[in-house]
């Protein structure tokens, strides 16, 4: 790189070519004032506040002007200050002083400059002299249509920071300038009100705005300056991306959130992370243990929505549970009484039916420490391996395939490395909705030089950035990828050396895809044209690096494991593992689904994937826990529910999960839960599942406890306590210790940190990590040098952790989905999530902003299908499968193919899982949420 030497304010400085004067000055500790520039943005050079003297005819904007050899720059002089003062004066003449930012966080950068230049007196009053434009500026409108962001065009200085935040940083492409000259304004889409535009409410614009033009609307308490608040650096509670966040609090409430710089999110957040945390102070929080009243036996559902999916009375608007309907079934109890009852009932079942009649669902929303303790309680305390959690419902098939083929279930590279990938294949993932911040990095890469390939049933927002978008028929992924592999092998576009040295099983795979999956046949199954299959294969085959990202669209099928095997084969055939810009990345859903799996919330493995069937492992954990352990593998989620129905499972502990809404075939789950002899639930709200509980224990929320969480990248991060728990609510790990003691398992820990140390010592991958060395941005596992290193970003550069070190290519013939459409049930139902909501809605529907953005259930169909059904956009429809019916609003959606219907599963008043099938993938035991046959009718 060429270096350039210049002088700034008389000081010599040497910088790399293409460094701007502003950056070079900063290196010298010289801060040049600016309004339109920020270090993480491409310079716009429009406010001209940063002008410097470079001894030319006119001044130069230092944020855009690049350094040149021998330049002699003055950043400050009476003339420069005079010009900056005039510019400030021009802006203040149209500025409502104090503006909304100054009145909240008190950091309007224009007003700061106004004070610096004596244009605003210390009392905050503008020293006004020449403001004939003020009247006209005052007529500029404000726009309060967004639920989360207030727009005041009077305070807008047209610095274009929001435009760059929206378009460059988040790649949402909503904000631009409208009009010309003095009439220019920022605008959303075609100058729509912000709330009616395609804005996804990520709030990046309001965070970037230097004035009161775009400000965050208050969520709880009024927003005040940061120094009047308590600030805690932690992470976001929602998805597997694990964004770093700072929460600012007052009076036991979060007041606002800000993205924090880290390798994960570089300060970016999405709507949930930025605005969706007020659930934690919702009045429905559980604050005291509850015991079911005698008169509410035999057990059954309590609320209307849980009793029946078709409400008789449609006048009620739906929404969160009506506590009046459910709370009367419970009486308040002390912790001692509740824990004693739990211990007694568990011991009774244990004595009468044995450990195998008990089971536990842990949670991927709880910490590593809690996941570890939960499985320890079930295994060591109850003597069974019947412990599972919602990973079963999301990536169980991916993990099964990964373990089988490359010997490890985690990602081989972090998502941000997409920036170095020549090709990124995103498949079965609505990343912009479900991993929004990860999607910003994908879009950013696609805008630079990464060829993005999107293969999905629905056209999501990534399609606009993609080189290829293949809209695949639901459930036909195997045929499509076999077709792609056919072309790769046929056209000699595979990495022969890699295949020879690092893999096994090529011949069988080659045999299968060459003989059976020519593009024509693949195309006839998956609906993607032959030409596109060939083009996609060529794009992949010609690239020197590719990353593959996938989500539930791959895994939630009865062929989920086959789907994942195909992606792994594609990656191995092209040699795309173990190098920069390559890798396999199943995008993890929950904030701690990686960690909960690592910690052993899986019926067949102890922590760190140590098989329960291997006696050596069992002995190791028996020694560590001082208890005999069951050698038999446990049951998975759906098997446990089946067991409850068959009465082979009698008692359950459910920590922070809501299977009534999240598991397939809710009508069956309802019967199963009601059939249990004993159910204890710990949660932060009285969930649909808790309606069936004998004992409900009030848990602390994410914000009220300390613990570690492992994100989709394998990054172990510390979640710090932001607020105290309400009432008598307790951290889940403490509840687990209480329950453990009540059944005679000694579980005494001083802190979550001690639990972590015990867990880490029993693993290879977490060894060496501790709460103390995770720092503010965490570490990737494995981390050979936790004191100084950030952990291992790219895995398997040399060999795979399989017995012979090779990756396995597993040929998979195409098999159709379990329940195909027919004359009676002619639509294909696919379920999934929305950007504004989270899983069963327990948290997000109790968030003011999020529930305002997406208040209720709907079913998305292609407008042509709606027209054929005679249903108008927004009208009510009934959707029925062989398992049940729900009623909800229809929404016209061009992103979906004809014959397919998409229903988000967040909404209890129209629970999508009433419809879904509980047919399972034979390896991953994951249900087929993405495919069942339904009928759609007008109501």
């Amino acid at each position: 790189m060429n270096m350039i030497t210049l002088a700034i304010d008389g000081q010599k400085v040497t910088v790399p070519e293409s460094t701007t004067i502003w950056q070079a000055a900063r290196q010298l500790g010289i801060e040049i004032p600016t309004l339109c520039h920020a270090p993480d943005m491409n310079p716009a050079g429009v406010c001209r506040m940063c002008v410097v003297d470079v001894r030319e005819r006119a001044l130069a904007a230092s944020c855009v002007r690049e350094c040149q050899h021998g330049m002699d720059v003055a950043t400050s002089s009476p003339d420069l200050e005079r010009h900056r003062r005039v510019l400030t004066q021009l802006l203040l003449a149209e500025h409502p002083t104090p503006c909304a930012r100054e009145e909240t966080t008190k950091d309007c950068q224009l007003e700061q400059l106004g004070r610096r230049y004596g244009l605003i007196d210390p009392g905050g009053v503008e020293a006004d002299s020449l403001t004939p434009t003020a009247a006209r500026a005052a007529a500029r409108p404000s726009d309060l249509s967004s639920p989360v962001i207030a727009v005041d065009h009077r305070a807008c200085i047209l610095c274009d920071r929001c435009i760059r935040a929206c378009n460059d940083i988040q790649s949402n492409e909503v904000i631009g300038r409208t009009g010309k000259g003095h009439a220019s304004r920022i605008a959303f889409d075609l100058d729509q009100p912000m709330g009616e535009s395609s804005c996804v409410s990520c709030g990046e614009c309001a965070s970037a705005c230097p004035t009161g033009a775009l400000t965050h609307k208050p969520i709880t308490l009024p927003i005040v300056p940061r120094d009047a608040l308590t600030s805690v650096d932690t992470i976001c509670p929602y998805c597997g991306v694990g964004c770093a966040v700072t929460y600012h609090c007052q009076d036991d409430q979060i007041v606002f959130a800000e993205g924090r710089d880290s390798r994960v999110n570089r300060g970016r957040l999405c709507v949930k992370g930025r605005y969706g945390w007020d659930y934690t102070s919702h009045p429905q929080r559980l604050t005291t243990p509850l015991i079911r009243r005698e008169e509410y036996y035999p057990k059954g559902p309590l609320s209307d929505e849980v009793r029946s999916s078709l409400r008789k009375d449609r006048s009620r608007p739906g929404g969160i549970v009506d506590y009046q309907q459910v709370m009367s079934a419970f009486r308040e109890a002390s912790w001692d009484e509740a824990i004693e009852l739990v211990g007694r009932r568990l011991k009774e079942i244990l004595a009468r039916h044995g450990g195998s009649a008990l089971a536990g669902f842990g949670s991927a929303k709880c910490s590593n420490e809690e996941a570890y303790l939960f499985q320890k309680l079930i295994r060591a305390g109850l003597g069974t391996n019947n412990v599972d959690h919602c990973t079963r419902l999301c990536h169980a098939s991916s993990v099964a395939a990964l373990m089988e083929t490359i010997g490890s279930g985690a990602v081989t590279n972090v998502f941000a490395d997409v920036a170095r990938a020549e090709v990124a294949l995103v498949t079965g993932s609505n990343t912009p909705a479900n991993h929004p911040v990860a999607a910003t990095f994908m879009k950013e890469a696609a805008k630079r030089h990464t060829d993005l390939i999107l293969v999905d049933v629905r056209r999501n927002a990534l399609a606009d950035f993609a080189k290829h978008f293949a809209q695949i028929r639901p459930g036909t992924d195997v045929a499509f990828y076999n077709g792609v592999m056919h072309v790769l092998i046929r056209d000699s576009l595979i990495d022969r050396d890699f295949v020879a040295n690092r893999t096994e099983g090529f011949d069988a795979l080659e045999q299968l895809v060459l003989s059976d999956y020519a593009p024509r046949r693949a195309s006839s199954i998956c609906g993607v044209s032959e030409e596109q299959i060939v083009a996609i294969a060529h794009t992949i085959g010609r690239a020197r690096s590719m990353m593959i990202f996938w989500g539930m669209g791959i895994s939630q099928h009865t062929t989920g494991t086959d789907n994942a095997r195909c992606l792994i084969s594609l990656c191995l055939l092209t040699g795309n593992v173990g190098r920069p810009g390559t890798g396999l990345h199943p995008l993890r859903g929950q904030n701690n689904v990686q960690g909960a799996s690592d910690a052993g919330l899986i019926p067949i493995v102890y922590p760190d994937y140590q098989s329960v069937s291997q006696s050596g492992n069992r002995e190791k954990f028996e020694r560590a826990w001082g208890r005999p352990l069951d050698p038999a593998p446990g049951l998975t989620v759906v098997e446990i529910m089946d067991g409850a129905l068959e009465r082979s499972i009698r008692g359950m502990i459910i920590m922070g999960e809501n299977p009534f809404l999240s598991d397939p075939n809710s009508n069956k789950v309802r019967q199963a839960l009601a059939a249990l002899d004993f159910l204890v639930v710990h949660d932060i709200f009285l969930t649909e599942t808790a309606e069936f509980a004998d004992v409900v224990l009030p848990a602390a929320s994410f914000f009220e406890k300390r613990g570690t969480y492992t994100n989709t990248d394998r990054r172990v991060q510390l979640g710090r306590r932001v607020l105290p728990p309400p009432g008598d609510a307790r951290e889940d790990w403490k509840i687990l210790c209480d329950v453990g003691r009540s059944i005679g398992l000694a579980m005494d820990y001083e802190s979550a940190s001690d639990v972590f140390d015990e867990f880490a010592k029993l693993t290879n991958n977490y060894r060496g990590l501790s709460h103390d060395n995770l720092g503010s941005t965490g570490k990737l596992w494995p981390c050979p040098d936790p004191r100084t290193g950030d952990g291992t970003q790219i895995l398997f550069g040399e060999r795979f952790p399989t017995p012979n070190g090779k990756g396995k290519l597993v040929p998979c013939p195409y098999q159709p989905a379990n329940e195909l459409p027919d004359a009676q049930y002619s639509f294909i139902l696919s379920t999934g999530r929305l950007l504004a909501h989270w899983h069963t809605g327990t948290m997000t529907r109790r968030s003011r902003a999020l529930s305002e953005i997406e208040p209720g259930p709907f079913a998305a169909l292609h407008p042509a299908d709606l027209a054929e059904l005679g249903v108008s956009d927004g009208a009510r429809i009934r959707v029925s499968s062989r398992r049940g019916s729900i009623e909800l609003a229809a929404r016209a959606d061009r992103s979906i193919d004809r014959g397919v219907i998409f229903i988000p599963f967040h909404f209890r008043e129209a629970a999508a899982n009433v419809l879904t099938t509980d047919a399972l993938d034979p390896y991953g035991k994951i249900p087929e949420f993405k495919f069942c046959a339904v009928r759609v009718e007008r109501v």
């Binding site: 001044l59 005039v86 510019l87 492409e173 409208t178 009009g179 010309k180 000259g181 075609l190 100058d191």
Partner: protein, 538 residues
């Protein structure tokens, strides 16, 4: 070019662009909506509401303002506004200063004799007949045209190609001639060609800036109409010199008639094999397309023009880098003005010595000037450089009876006012600069004793305010603030601080604006304060 051309096509086809149309364009072309919004709201060619039967654009700038009595024209416009089928919009200079007062009816330029007599105006509005370039003397000979008849056209390029010395000869002759750019900035043409010639990146582009829009400027219109082949040949020579295969004429949309003339000439050039895959037998492809500007004075600024060609808002870029190295789509790009290309052909035909001989004394070469304002025959003249302003006024038929010279602008709206005492200053780049103004585009606006110079200066500042793109703060807010202060002064309620602030503002605009528009926006006003302080209302 794709998006703006599509929007232009739809604008012509549908008469306006409603949101549904724009959404379709966005989806079809895979462009985010905000970009479409940015374009249709920025460029005056587009409208969002259904048009009336007659939309009347009335030029509000200096020459037309001089040509109409505001007290009489305002009631007339109000009267027209009462009609449901007529929409009146005041717009910036239409480039018809020689026919002032000018209007455009549904895009067709017309020029009623006055703007206060409805009987005169109404027929023009109801049945607009396009203006010719008065005085239209198609048979007139221009000194710079080296060809006696059509058969000789393109002889220069043909002989240079045959000699195999296009690049070397062109650069050498242009440098010897010391020809300077005629678009306003006066950059040496030979050096510009050489700079782009030396760039190694390909492809390269040649662009003809035919977007003259500064009040008082209309010379390129006449050149395009009467000498289109000289412009085409100049572009071709440039393309062969720098190694570009694609030429683009960026033409202001008000020049419909000239567009047709140019297209006819391009057809002829293609038919003659001068343009095409083997342009003039050079073994190199070169062809020229016309891009019709969606409107706005700012697009005359060459980097704003490039932004428009790239389907962006026409907002000037930061410089450096300059278009010669980073031009259209980041590639080396040669941009010259219409007149520059025409004169280059002439110089390359005759050689530098001939060029020097075209004027006397210290001056060399020819210049097209537009003269307007208080003269009997406003129009375009091809003069030897160094001709005095007094002589030019004489060529334009002198001043109307009984009127005497008070002031003039030698180089369009952005040049400083000069007084009658400067009437004998030769029209020349250096001499005008020495006199405290500039030759600029060569648009001489003549003002007689009866003119209210303060009102004229206000009109000029308002023009820059109206045409500011709004990208940078000083120009966007400074021109607005200055306009407001001038109105206060006119109304007699300005404070002395405000008047002082105008001077501070001028300084800041000059020093901190991104482009020339902002840098010069207050020039006329400041020169007024200097030369004609008595004209400022007290």
């Amino acid at each position: 070019m794709k998006i703006l051309r599509e929007l232009t096509r739809l604008q012509h086809e549908l008469g306006y662009l409603e949101d549904a149309t724009l959404r379709q364009v966005a989806e079809r072309m895979r462009v985010p909506l905000y970009r479409i919004e940015g374009l249709v709201s920025f460029y005056p060619m587009f409208r969002r509401t259904p048009p009336p039967r007659l939309h009347v654009n009335v030029c509000r700038d200096i020459c037309c303002r001089m040509a109409r009595d505001p007290n009489a024209s305002a009631p007339l416009l109000d009267q027209l506004r009462t009609r449901d089928d007529i929409e009146i919009r005041e717009v910036s200079c239409l480039g018809r200063c020689d026919a002032a007062p000018a209007l455009a009816i549904n895009g067709t330029p017309v020029a009623p004799r006055t703007m206060h007599d409805l009987q005169e105006v109404l027929p023009c509005v109801e049945q607009p007949a396009s203006l010719s370039n008065e005085p239209n003397e198609k048979t007139r000979r221009w000194k710079c045209d080296p060809y006696a008849d059509a058969s000789q056209r393109y002889g220069t390029v043909r002989s240079l190609v045959e000699a195999g010395t296009v690049a070397a000869t062109c650069i050498e002759r242009l440098e010897q001639s010391r020809l300077r750019g005629m678009g306003g900035a006066g950059f040496p043409t030979g050096r510009k060609w050489e700079l782009v010639f030396q760039e190694t990146a390909t492809p390269k582009y040649v662009i003809c800036n035919a977007d003259e829009s500064e009040p008082g400027t209309f010379k390129d219109r006449v050149i395009l109409d009467e000498l289109p082949h000289l412009v085409i040949e100049g572009m071709l020579l440039a393309g062969l010199t720098v190694g570009a295969e694609r030429g683009i004429v960026f033409l202001r949309h008000e020049y419909g008639r000239e567009h047709q003339a140019l297209q006819r000439a391009l057809q002829q050039a293609r038919a003659a094999g001068v343009l095409g895959p083997n342009a003039a037998n050079s073994d190199q492809a070169f062809d020229i397309e016309v891009f019709v500007s969606p409107g706005g004075y700012i697009l005359g600024e060459e980097t704003a023009l490039l932004e428009a060609l790239e389907d962006k808002r026409g907002e000037p870029r930061h410089k450096p880098p300059y278009p010669g190295t980073h031009g259209l789509w980041g590639q080396p790009t040669l941009i010259n003005n219409v007149e520059t290309f025409a004169l280059a052909t002439s110089i390359l035909h005759h050689g530098a010595t001939w060029w020097e001989q075209q004027s006397e004394g210290d001056f060399s070469g020819l210049k097209f000037v537009s003269i307007s304002g208080d003269v009997v025959h406003p129009g375009v003249h091809e003069i030897p450089l160094g001709t005095t302003v007094r002589e030019l006024i004489r060529l334009a038929g002198g001043m109307p009876d009984g009127e005497s010279l008070k002031a003039f602008l030698p180089g369009g709206a952005s040049s400083n006012f000069l007084t009658a005492a400067h009437a004998d200053t030769p029209l020349d780049f250096d001499r005008m600069q020495q006199a405290g103004s500039m030759l600029g585009t060569g648009a001489v606006i003549v003002l007689s004793e009866r003119r209210d110079l303060f009102d004229m200066a206000t009109s000029l500042v308002r023009f820059f305010r109206n045409e500011s793109c709004g990208k940078c703060l000083p120009c966007r807010l400074g021109t607005e603030q200055a306009t407001e202060i001038l109105q206060c002064i006119q109304a007699g309620n300005a404070s002395s601080e405000q008047l002082q602030f105008v001077e501070a503002l001028n300084d800041t605009l000059q020093q901190t604006s991104i482009c020339g528009l902002g840098q010069v926006a207050l020039n006329p006003l400041l020169s007024l304060l200097k030369h004609f302080p008595d004209d400022v209302p007290q």
